[in-house]
């Protein structure tokens, strides 16, 4: 087990950087960026909500990539990496739903609206990935579980564009579009705030991914050590 702790190296530094960057992002979002003329203070949540949403997509994408590597190369280490990425994706996904609901409540007075494509898409994906965990927990540990999880993760990524298209089409007959939400026209400072926020949230997600992965690897290695000694 040489280099067992190699995946922890550099992590404290990264974590500190992520924390710092998040602080900076919050500063930008709530103090430095100018207030939006139409929506007022509630618009600020955009700086948090959209990066979180993008990061969730990124995590699911990472999970699918690791899944593809598992199926392609057959190395079981990718199974844990895929699982942790999807786990993080689900966490950020639920945060997307929560921040989206907060924004909806602040902007339009409702906690949920079916008119928001973003939210409906996320709800679909959220349900999909919750089922991922149900699948994983119902299968015994081993190659079957790793492979089935990987295939399911790939299906998730394929579902994203198809669902998006479907929801766009569904607008026509499910609800008349009464609320529109174009991305705000961003001035220079707003754009900077957005970018800082995006970088911060992405780094945060990456750090959390590495931390969870390290924890799970440690747990697995410890268990293997225990078994060898038995």
């Amino acid at each position: 087990m040489t280099g067992a702790l190699s995946w922890i190296r550099g992590l404290p530094g990264l974590a500190a950087l992520a924390a710092g960057l998040m602080g900076l992002a919050l500063l930008f979002s709530f103090f430095i960026a100018p207030e939006d003329a139409d929506q007022g203070i509630s618009q600020r949540i955009f700086y948090i909500h959209v990066p979180i949403a993008l990061t969730a997509y990124f995590c699911f994408g990472l999970g699918a990539w690791k899944a593809l590597l598992l199926l392609w190369r057959g190395d079981e280490r990718y199974d844990l990496e895929s699982y942790v990425a999807i786990h993080q994706g689900t966490i950020f996904g639920s945060l997307t739903l929560i921040t989206g609901a907060i924004w909806a409540k602040a902007s339009w007075g409702v906690w949920w609206t079916w008119d928001s494509n973003q939210l409906v898409l996320f709800l679909t994906l959220f349900l999909f990935y919750c089922a991922y965990f149900m699948l994983r927990f119902s299968l015994p540990e081993g190659p079957r579980r790793a492979r089935s999880s990987a295939v399911y993760a790939l299906f998730g990524v394929a579902l994203i564009p198809v669902s998006f298209l479907a929801i766009r089409l569904a607008e026509d007959f499910i609800h008349p579009t009464t609320f529109t939400r174009d991305g705000p026209q961003m001035t220079g400072t707003m754009f900077t705030a957005f970018c800082v926020s995006w970088a911060a949230v992405t780094l945060l997600a990456y750090v959390l991914y590495r931390v969870e992965l390290a924890g799970k690897r440690l747990h697995t290695d410890l268990r293997e050590l225990r078994e060898v000694l038995e």
């Binding site: 015994p140 540990e141 081993g142 190659p143 268990r223 078994e227 038995e230």
Partner: protein, 194 residues
């Protein structure tokens, strides 16, 4: 033909196989013995490729189409007749002169009269004989038989004895059994699992 090095298989926390090492040359006959739960079935399933080892290497120099497997379960469809089952597997295994071969095997194992009866109506002994027909259908180079004598009555056992005598020396065989005395003299190697 088969080369196994340092084979280990775990299911979660329990270790079913550990430190298995052996080589089986072509036309050898490996007899695998051990008590219930000692991992005989797992080992045989690993050899067929149905189960991946947790650690170690398993090299089997024969591809799927030349491998015959007899499992604990008969691996035949309940709702189909013996003929329909063997016809299906005959097609999937690309058996040449399928009908003749099926007829020959059914006769050999005393199932010709019951060929159009659904497997659901078979006794365990008949099911086991059909499973043997299925395993032998495509004239495999490597035969992996998991407790082939289980559920067979005296007549069935005698048929199997005859079959194994003919196959030993011209095919590679791996047979696991509770009752080693029956096939001991045919075996070229033994592996006892703890």
């Amino acid at each position: 033909m088969i080369s196994v090095r340092n084979l280990e298989k775990r299911y979660g926390r329990s270790r079913v196989l550990a430190g298995i090492d052996f080589e089986l040359p072509r036309d050898g006959f490996l007899l695998v013995t051990g008590a219930n739960g000692s991992g005989k079935t797992t080992l045989l399933r690993v050899l067929t490729g149905l189960v991946a080892p947790t650690r170690g290497t398993v090299e089997v120099e024969v591809d799927r189409g030349r491998l015959g497997f007899l499992a604990h379960e008969p691996l035949v469809y309940r709702e189909l007749t013996a003929l329909e089952n063997l016809d299906l597997f005959g097609r999937l295994y690309r058996v040449p002169e399928r009908r003749e071969r099926i007829g020959m095997l059914l006769e050999r194992f005393g199932l010709w009269e019951a060929r159009s009866v659904r497997v659901a109506a078979y006794s365990r002994g008949m099911g086991q004989r059909l499973a043997l027909c299925r395993a032998l259908l495509h004239d495999p180079e490597l035969l992996v038989l998991d407790e082939p004598y289980a559920s067979l009555d005296e007549q069935g056992g005698a048929l199997l004895d005859r079959e194994l005598e003919e196959l030993a020396g011209t095919r590679t065989l791996v047979v696991s059994t509770h009752d080693p005395a029956r096939v001991e003299r045919l075996a070229t190697q033994r592996l006892a699992l703890a």
